[in-house]
């Protein structure tokens, strides 16, 4: 899923500065699962913003609403009635797809992103998320013992590990595991060095973001 985290409160305070009526819009998709922008986080941020305004004696109304998903027009439509209430600012608490979809659907409104969209990843444990995919558009993890070096090697090496791999960690930080250490150790343990011997050829990045913004059209699904 997409992993995001809330922006620093100071930055968000900047978005609502001088405004008296704002709407916080959460999303029940990925950002709910990663505890960044679901109903609960919308409630917390709304409360913090109200407290901040109260302290300064400012008049600030913060309304809260959470959509099923902000990356789907069908759900984005559900905001139509609320938007009629004329907010000075609408803060999306979805990944950055959310505020973009909202902006397109409600072009007259002013939208702000309250989250930083961080990466495609998973939860290693409750409260710990790690990046696992870079959406290169041509998955070959089966060649690497089920691990993605494009994402998880700091240098995206296709034929690692580099000379900076030491005791299982990456040269950039002892906090970063060397994925090539894991890949090669696994391959050696399974005694499959020979399967692994071919050089991974120069990668075609055209299916990745390098080929320009991507779009998928599935004719059988299009109305």
């Amino acid at each position: 899923m997409i992993i995001a985290e809330r922006k620093p409160i100071d930055e968000i305070k900047g978005f609502v500065e001088g405004k008296t009526k704002v709407l916080l819009v959460g999303c029940r998709g990925c950002v709910t699962v990663c505890n960044a922008g679901g109903t609960k986080e919308v409630g917390i941020l709304a409360s913090l913003l109200r407290l901040d305004a109260q302290k300064e004696g400012r008049d600030l109304t913060v309304d809260e609403f959470t959509l099923e998903r902000q990356c789907d027009p069908e759900y984005v439509d559900e905001l139509a009635e609320l938007v009629e209430k004329k907010y000075d600012a609408i803060l999306s608490m979805a990944c950055s797809v959310g505020p973009q979809f909202l902006s397109r659907r409600y072009p007259k409104e002013k939208f702000y992103p309250s989250l930083n969209t961080c990466f495609i990843g998973g939860a290693l444990a409750h409260g710990i998320w790690a990046e696992h995919c870079q959406a290169c558009g041509n998955c070959i993890i089966h060649k690497f013992g089920g691990m993605c070096p494009i994402t998880r090697c700091s240098k995206s090496l296709m034929n690692g590990p580099c000379g900076g791999s030491s005791e299982g960690v990456c040269e950039i930080s002892k906090e970063v595991e060397c994925i090539w250490h894991l890949i090669t150790t696994k391959v050696m343990e399974e005694d499959r060095l020979e399967d692994f011997a071919p050089i991974q050829p120069i990668k075609d990045w055209s299916t990745s973001r390098d080929g320009g913004p991507r779009k998928i059209v599935r004719e059988e699904l299009v109305k």
């Binding site: 620093p8 409360s47 913090l48 407290l51 109260q54 302290k55 004696g57």
Partner: protein
């Protein structure tokens, strides 16, 4: 701050320890300030940051969470989780101008009636020292 400031304090107390300790403090007729509103929770693991935020929004001057001694949680680690949430929320409220000292976590056992009274006294003193919540001042004005 005025001499007659009576802080409004909300205490989220675990039923297995702090809440029973409060009972005991009562039956022992121990003296402690009466301006503490005790809210029973099944475990401090049930404590959620939004509860404290709502309390502050409604004008509380201080909020504390009281759970079992570490290692003695009836649900194993509810009190450890609560401790982390309190620490997290302290940082959050500080960023909107509320002193982190207005929120605290305490640990005690059901048999510590006197300790319960002591905690209330201690926390009330802290809040009296901090003065009325900056949120409340503006609300009144």
């Amino acid at each position: 701050m005025s001499e007659d400031f009576e802080p409004k304090i909300i205490a989220f107390c675990c039923q297995y320890c702090a809440y029973s300790a409060a009972d005991m403090a009562g039956s022992m007729r121990l003296q402690y300030p009466s301006n503490v509103e005790i809210i029973l929770i099944p475990c401090t693991g049930r404590f959620d940051v939004i509860l404290a935020l709502k309390a502050f929004e409604a004008g509380a001057d201080g909020v504390y969470v009281a759970g079992c001694l570490e290692g003695n949680c009836h649900f194993l680690d509810g009190n450890i989780r609560a401790k982390k949430r309190v620490a997290y929320l302290q940082k959050q409220i500080e960023q909107v101008g509320l002193e982190p000292g207005r929120l605290a976590m305490y640990n005690l056992s059901a048999s510590q009636g006197p300790r319960f009274a002591e905690i209330v006294n201690e926390f009330s003193a802290t809040i009296i020292h901090l003065g009325p919540s900056p949120m409340k001042k503006k609300l009144a004005a």
